[in-house]
C-alpha cells in the first residue's frame, strides 16, 4: 500500500541559545500536493526548512525537537546529502549555478552520466568519460517539463534571472527519486510573466505525483496554486487551511495575527507639525536596497514608518541619511543642510541610528555591554571621557552607572554590564543597540528592523520603548521594518517604498488592500 503522506513533520521545535524560534509545528504532505507555507519574515519558515534539510546550522546549535517521517518511515536527517538521498529537493533562493557551465552540465552536476573508455578500463571508475548524449537528453527532458525552450548546451552565464531559476528547478526534476520539492521564495526575483510561468510549471510537476512545499509571502500566489496552506507566526503554528476554505484576507489576518491589537493604533493628528527631516531626491547606492530619488518629510514628534518588500530600497533610506552608503540628494535636518556620506556629521547634528544589521554593524560582539552602550557617545560627543590635554581616559565609574541605568530601564537580561554582548540573546543585543543610540540624546532616532530575529517578549519591550521615547521625550522616530503589523501598531504614518521610491504614505488604519497594492508598485499605478 502506498503511504498516505510522503512527508510528515510532527511537533517540531527549535531554539537558538535559549531563544525559541520554532515550537509545535506539524506538517503533512501527500504525493502530488502543493502545500503553501506562509509567514512574515522571521516566522520560522527558513528554520523549518533548515531542519528538513539537516543543515549544519541546526545540528551545530543543539539539534531540534520532534520527528520527521519520509514516505511513512521515521528518518534522522543529519546533512543535506541525506535529505537529497531521501528524495527531498530544494530550489534555492540564491542561485547555486556554475556560470561558465552549460545548462546540461549544471543540471547534471555531480550526477553525471558516465561511459567507459579505454583509459577507465585500466585505471578505474574515476576516469570514465561523460556521456553527453544521454546527459543532454535528460536535461532536455527536464527543461521540456518546464516548457523552457532554450538550448541545453547554452552556458548559464548571461541567461536572464528567470531562466537561471528554471535551470535550478530542472536540476531537481532530473533527480529520479524526487519525492518532495521545496520552493523557497522562488518568485521573489522573477518578473510577473516568469512568475506565472513558474506557477504553471509547479502545477504540472505536482500532477506527476511530486509533492511541493511552496514558501512565499505573496498570498495571491499561494491561493492560485496551493491545495493546502500552513500559516506560521512567531515560530508557532497558527493554522492549516485548505484552499477551498480560505482566501487572501483570512491568510493575511492569520499571518499578521492579533498582534496589531496588542498596542492601540495611533490616532494622533500631527499634520500641523513642521517637518524636522526633509529628504529631496535622495539616492543611495546600497547594494540590494538601492534608493532612487526618495522625497519624504518627517514631522517633528511623529513616529514615521517605512515599509515595503525586501530589496525595494526601504533599508537604504536610513543608511543613506547616516552616511553608511554613498548617497546623493538634498537632506535637511531642522532646516539645515545635512552633509551626506559622513556618519560623524550625521551624528553631530543630532541623528542616531539603530542598524538593521545588528551583529554586523550594530555591535562590538566581543566587547562588554557597557562599552557598546557608551561607544558612539564617547567618540562623537566626548561623553564619559576625561581629558588632560592630548590625553584622555574613559570614565569607568560614570560608564558603569550609565550602563546599569539602561540595563534596568530597557530590561536587558544579562549577568552584568561587563558581560560580552555576543553571549546575549538577539532581543537583548537589540536593546543594547537602542541604548547606544539613546545615549547620544538624538533629536531624530532612525531605527531599522528593530524586531528582526528576536522573540515575542523582547519585541514587545522594544516597541514599547520606542513609543515611550516618542511620547515622553517627544523624540522623532523613523522606523524601518519589514513587518507591516509592527509598523501599523506604533507609527503615525507609514511610507511604503517600492522600487527605490516612496509609493505612497498611508495611515496605520488604512485597509490591507491599500498596503498590499502600494507594496506591489505596478498595481498601485493602475489603481491610482
Amino acid at each position: 500500500m502506498a503511504p498516505e503522506s510522503v512527508l510528515k513533520m510532527t511537533n517540531i521545535g527549535k531554539s537558538y541559545y535559549g531563544t525559541t524560534v520554532l515550537k509545535g509545528i506539524d506538517l503533512e504532505i501527500k504525493p502530488g500536493e502543493i502545500h503553501g507555507i506562509v509567514g512574515e519574515n522571521g516566522a520560522g519558515k527558513s528554520t523549518l526548512m533548515n531542519i528538513l534539510f539537516g543543515m549544519s546550522v541546526i545540528h551545530s546549535t543543539g539539534g531540534f525537537e520532534g520527528s520527521i517521517e519520509v514516505a511513512g518511515e521515521s528518518v534522522q536527517i543529519q546533512s543535506p546529502e541525506e535529505a537529497m538521498a531521501l528524495g527531498i529537493g530544494m530550489v534555492h533562493q540564491e542561485f547555486m549555478l556554475l556560470p561558465n557551465f552549460t545548462l546540461t552540465e549544471n543540471i547534471k552536476l555531480n550526477r553525471e552520466v558516465l561511459k567507459p573508455n579505454p583509459v577507465s578500463r585500466i585505471f578505474g571508475e574515476n576516469l570514465k568519460s561523460l556521456d553527453f548524449d544521454v546527459m543532454n537528453k535528460d536535461a532536455r527532458k527536464a527543461l521540456d517539463r518546464l516548457h523552457i525552450d532554450i538550448e541545453e548546451y547554452a552556458s548559464v552565464a548571461g541567461l536572464p534571472v528567470g531562466h537561471m531559476q528554471f535551470t535550478e528547478i530542472a536540476r531537481e526534476l532530473d533527480k529520479t527519486n524526487l519525492k518532495v520539492l521545496v520552493f523557497d521564495e522562488p518568485t521573489a526575483v522573477l518578473t510577473e510573466s516568469e512568475a506565472d510561468h513558474l506557477l504553471q510549471a509547479m502545477k504540472e510537476i505536482a500532477a506527476d505525483g511530486i509533492a511541493i512545499l511552496f514558501i512565499t509571502h505573496r498570498l495571491d500566489e499561494i491561493i492560485t496554486v496551493c491545495d493546502n496552506i500552513t500559516v506560521l507566526r512567531d515560530g508557532a503554528l497558527v493554522g492549516h487551511r485548505t484552499k477551498a476554505e480560505t482566501d487572501v484576507y483570512e491568510l493575511a489576518e492569520l499571518m499578521v495575527g492579533s498582534r496589531m491589537a496588542e498596542l492601540a493604533q495611533s490616532t494622533r493628528d500631527l499634520s500641523e507639525k513642521k517637518p524636522v527631516l526633509e529628504l529631496r531626491n535622495l539616492n543611495v547606492r546600497m547594494p540590494g536596497e538601492r534608493v532612487r530619488g526618495v522625497n519624504l518629510d518627517v514631522r517633528e514628534g511623529e513616529i514615521l514608518g517605512i515599509g515595503g518588500l525586501a530589496g525595494q530600497g526601504k533599508i537604504g533610506i536610513a543608511n543613506g541619511i547616516m552616511g553608511l552608503f554613498p548617497s546623493e540628494g538634498d537632506v535637511r535636518l531642522a532646516g539645515e543642510q545635512l552633509p551626506l556620506n559622513s556618519p560623524k556629521e550625521s551624528m553631530a547634528r543630532g541623528l542616531a541610528y539603530v542598524s538593521e544589521d545588528r551583529r554586523g554593524v550594530g555591535l562590538l560582539l566581543d566587547s562588554s555591554i557597557e562599552l557598546n552602550i557608551v561607544f558612539s557617545a564617547a567618540q562623537n560627543q566626548n561623553q564619559f571621557v576625561r581629558r588632560w590635554g592630548p590625553f584622555s581616559q574613559l570614565d569607568s565609574d560614570t560608564i558603569r552607572q550609565h550602563a546599569l541605568k539602561y540595563i534596568k530601564d530597557l530590561d536587558i537580561r544579562c549577568t552584568g554590564p561587563t558581560q560580552m554582548v555576543r553571549r546575549l540573546s538577539g532581543g537583548n543585543q537589540q536593546k543594547v543597540c537602542i541604548a547606544r543610540a539613546l545615549t547620544m540624546n538624538p533629536h531624530v532616532l532612525l531605527v531599522s528592523e528593530p524586531t528582526r530575529g528576536i522573540d515575542v517578549g523582547a519585541k514587545r519591550i522594544v516597541l514599547d520603548t520606542l513609543r515611550k521615547l516618542n511620547e515622553e521625550l517627544g523624540m522623532t522616530i523613523v522606523m524601518t521594518s519589514s513587518e507591516l503589523g509592527e509598523l501599523r501598531s506604533i507609527c503615525d504614518r507609514i511610507a511604503i517604498v517600492t522600487d527605490g521610491k516612496v509609493a505612497g504614505i498611508l495611515k496605520p488604519d488604512d485597509s490591507d488592500v491599500n498596503f498590499g497594492l502600494l507594496m506591489s508598485g505596478q498595481k498601485a499605478e493602475k489603481g491610482a
Binding site: 553608511l324 556618519p343 551624528m347 555591535l363 562590538l364 566581543d366 566587547s367 558612539s376 567618540q379 584622555s392
Partner: protein, 354 residues
Amino acid sequence: MKTVLDFLKNLGLARLIILGFFVFLCAAAILLRLNLAELLTSSLARIGMWGVLVLAMLPAIVSGIGPNFGVSLGILCGLVGGLTSLEMAYRLEGVVELGGGALFFIAILVSMPFAVMTGIGYGWLLNRVKGSEMMIATYVGFSVVSIMKLAWLFLPYSSPEMAWPIGRGVRVQISLANRGITRILNDFLSFRIGDVVVPTGLLLFVALCCFLMWLFLRSKTGTAMYAAGDNPRFAEAAGVNVNRQRIVGTILSTVLGAVGILVYAQSYGFMQLYEGPMFMPFVAVAAVLIGGASVKRATITHVVVGTILFLGIQVVAIPVANAFTADWSSMGEISRKIIQNGVILYALTQAGGD
C-alpha cells in the same frame, strides 16, 4: 572539574602542546642537573629583552592590521636612532661626556620621528591592501631590510667603533660597551636572589611600556582603534575613521619596534645591522600568538604570557638539547624554529572561517 575543562578548552590544543613542551624542558633541565640559577637568570634577561618587541604586536593586532610581520621597519628606525646616538657621543667627545643612560634615551628620541613617519607611510600602504596585510607586511619588511643593507654602507656615520677599519659603511655588529650603554637597563636596581640575577630596570621598563599601552587602550583614541580593528563596519557607523585608526595602530607598533630593538640591544650589548632585523618579527609574532592572541585579537596578558613561554623555551631548550648529545648542538635552535613557524602557521589557519 568543569571549569578545569573549560580552561583547557580556552587554552587551545596548540598552546597546550607548547605548555607541555615547556614543562617537559624544565623537568628535563632539573633531571639533567643543569644550573637552574643560570637558566633562570638568562630567562629573565631574555624575556625582558623581547618584551617591548612582542608588545609591538599588540597595537597592530588591535587596530586590525594583524600581527605586524613588518615590525622590522620599526627595528630599523631604532637602529638608526642607536647609531645616531653613538655618533653624537663620538662627535661631542671633549665637549660633553654623555653617559650610557643619556645615550640610550637619545637613541629612543632620535628614532621616534623616523618611526612615526615610517608608521604613517606603512599604515597608508596597509590600508590599500586590506585583507592581505600579513603577506604584504612580511615582504615590506624583507624589502626594506634589504634596502637598508645598502643604506648602512652609505650613511655618513664616522665613529670608529661603527665604521669598518677599511672601506666605507658601518659594521655588521656594533658594540655598545665602550659607551656604557650595555645593560644600562638590566643593571638598574638589579639584585640577586641566591645565584639568580634579576634585571630589575629592564623588567620595570617593559612593565612601564605595558602600563602605558593599557592606559592608551582605555583612552578615547584607544577605544576607537580597538573598534576599528574589531568591527570596522561598526566603527565606521559610529563615526570613527577606520583608516586613520589603522594608521595609529601601525605608528604605535613601529614606535614600539624602535624602542624594542634598543632595549634588546642594550641587554645584548650589540646592535646587529644588515641581516640582523630580517627574522626578528617572526619571533615577536610567534610569542604573542603562543600567549593566546589570534591574528584578530590580542591583550596585554597575551603579550606577557607569550613572551614568558616562548622566550623561556628558547633559553631552556638549548642546554637541554646539548646535554642529550653534543652532536645535536643545533637542536635548541631547530626546536625554536619549529615552534616559531609552527605556531605562526597554526594561527594563520585559524584566521578565517570557523
